[in-house]
Symmetry: C2
Subunit: 314 residues, 2 copies
């Protein structure tokens, strides 16, 4: 059998990535209740929302209110996304937040322009400033996201060499400041990965720096999310971003139907891990309850499988 | 990288397994048009319907009419399911059909009783008669299905030894008659497999008889279908049952919500294979058209991902 990790950590993205793509505005109260339900299942990290332009993503304009409304649980980190220094400052001011010092590196110009309004090179320069900002604030530089690391819906193919170069840049930012190496998170932002490519690209990052931990941000856009996660487990990857009930999708990803473009589904992937003997620390029935709560809030059937078929009772 | 097969064959089950679980009756004309669309995509085999008790499965009572209404395409085999000799006789009488000589072996008493109304042992005895029947009719004994090979919703766990014993019985039926070995198809009838168990059980069948080809009948009941297929590809398996748009589910499988219990989705799995360089002989845009046709006929959003997000255009 394969050399799977003994324990895997899931970073829940549903309250942020799941709700940002919706046209409708959902109340801070409902979203905070969902965050509480997710935390109650034992998730170590829940991304509550984003501090980004309220014009671009109006559904996230009240993220601070969501943070204020949660009942924080010991053992769960409540995090947020920001795309610039101003967003980071607003995040730092939110109650109940843990600032996970992360940077974002683009691999293609068109997605960098659409998502962040600047060039790949300019974004890189800014990330160097972000790391200094984190160090100055006593925030650990812990994660470096390499976006569209498996392909981009605007550019198409993303050469592996560009992904490796981005990861190298992120690692060098730590080395230059004598900081511990951050986790390199390869993001399949638009759901173009396949299992063999997952292995190939993870292998390349490991060849670049065997000591850097690796994570994956996966989407199930084309139905391969579970296979991609399994391929990563076979490579020993032990940290995944996922969304409750399979919510999610990037508003700038260019999909025919954004509702099909969700993240990998947290509860389905937790089940898969636990069925294979991998610990997750998560109470699956409680997580399924959270998925059903998300479905009630969103008000349409969501993509998760286990939430609809139920745990096997025999 | 893994030792994946160069070519994989998909046996389409949607028109049979997808429609048998619906409460509503769909016209033979609509179902025949769907069969034609599926065949036009290049699928080598399409299961058109079943010849079973019209009282138990009324939606399949007119399967003969569907066979009569199709426009057969050279290169596609049009097959059917039967559960007893009477059903086989009716199938043999249908126009445009290819009789694929298959047998069905149960691994648990409760599912055997519910699905076939007899004991595991009695069903085995009957399968021996079926093989004689096939030989007498000049039909090749080509496939042996081992049902609930990864677990049963009534019994729970299914010991690996019971699966191996069933496969051994199927192989012995061929050896006793000096026939070529049939393909052993492990059926995850109720969607309880996980990728590691897929590898373990395929490995056990291969240890039993290295020369028997192996196939899998998979369901995506709990969101692991793609991962299970990938694990099987890593074991060199090159034949899979699947359903267009992820339709399907066994009416006697005991699920909370049968609509969540579909087979693995043909077009999503074809994409996964082709993205990894595995040939399938299938025209993917034509297959997506067939999925959209299935959705129009059924009249509700279906589970397939690719059909909703679309092929990447860049």
């Amino acid at each position: 059998m394969s050399d799977l990790p003994k324990r895997v950590v899931f970073h829940e993205e549903g309250p942020r990535e799941g709700f940002q793509i919706e046209r409708q505005q959902f109340s801070a109260k409902d979203r905070a209740e969902l965050v509480d339900a997710l935390a109650a299942s034992g998730l170590e990290q829940v991304q509550v929302g984003s501090f980004v332009s309220p014009k671009a993503i109006p559904t996230m304009a009240d993220t601070r209110d969501v943070f204020a409304a949660i009942n924080p649980r010991s053992g769960t980190r409540y995090t947020a996304l920001w795309l610039n220094e101003n967003g980071y400052r607003r995040a730092a001011d939110a109650p109940n937040i843990t600032l996970d010092g992360k940077i974002l590196l683009y691999t293609t110009e068109p997605f960098s322009q659409r998502n962040n309004g600047c060039s790949v090179e300019e974004m890189r320069r800014r990330q160097s400033d972000w790391v200094d900002l984190y160090v100055g604030d006593g925030v650990v530089y812990e994660q470096a996201y390499v976006l569209t690391a498996f392909g981009c819906n605007f550019q198409g193919e993303v050469p592996l060499s560009d992904v490796v170069e981005s990861a190298d840049y992120a690692l060098q930012l730590a080395r230059d400041r004598s900081l511990p190496l951050p986790r390199i998170v390869l993001a399949d932002t638009v759901g173009r990965a396949n299992p063999e490519e997952i292995k190939r690209r993870i292998g390349a990052i490991r060849d670049l720096e065997p000591n850097a931990p690796i994570g994956l941000h996966l989407h199930d856009t084309r139905g391969m999310g579970a296979a991609n996660l399994y391929a990563a487990l076979e490579m020993g990857v032990d940290m995944f971003d996922s969304s409750i009930a399979g919510l999610g999708g990037c508003p700038y990803a260019k999909h025919a139907n954004t509702h099909g473009a969700g993240n990998i589904c947290t509860e389905d992937m937790v089940l898969m891990c636990s069925e294979m003997g991998i610990e997750t620390g998560i109470d699956l029935p409680a997580l399924i309850e959270a998925a059903l709560m998300a479905e009630r809030i969103i008000g349409r059937p969501l993509a998760g499988k286990l939430m609809h078929t139920g745990l096997a009772t025999n």
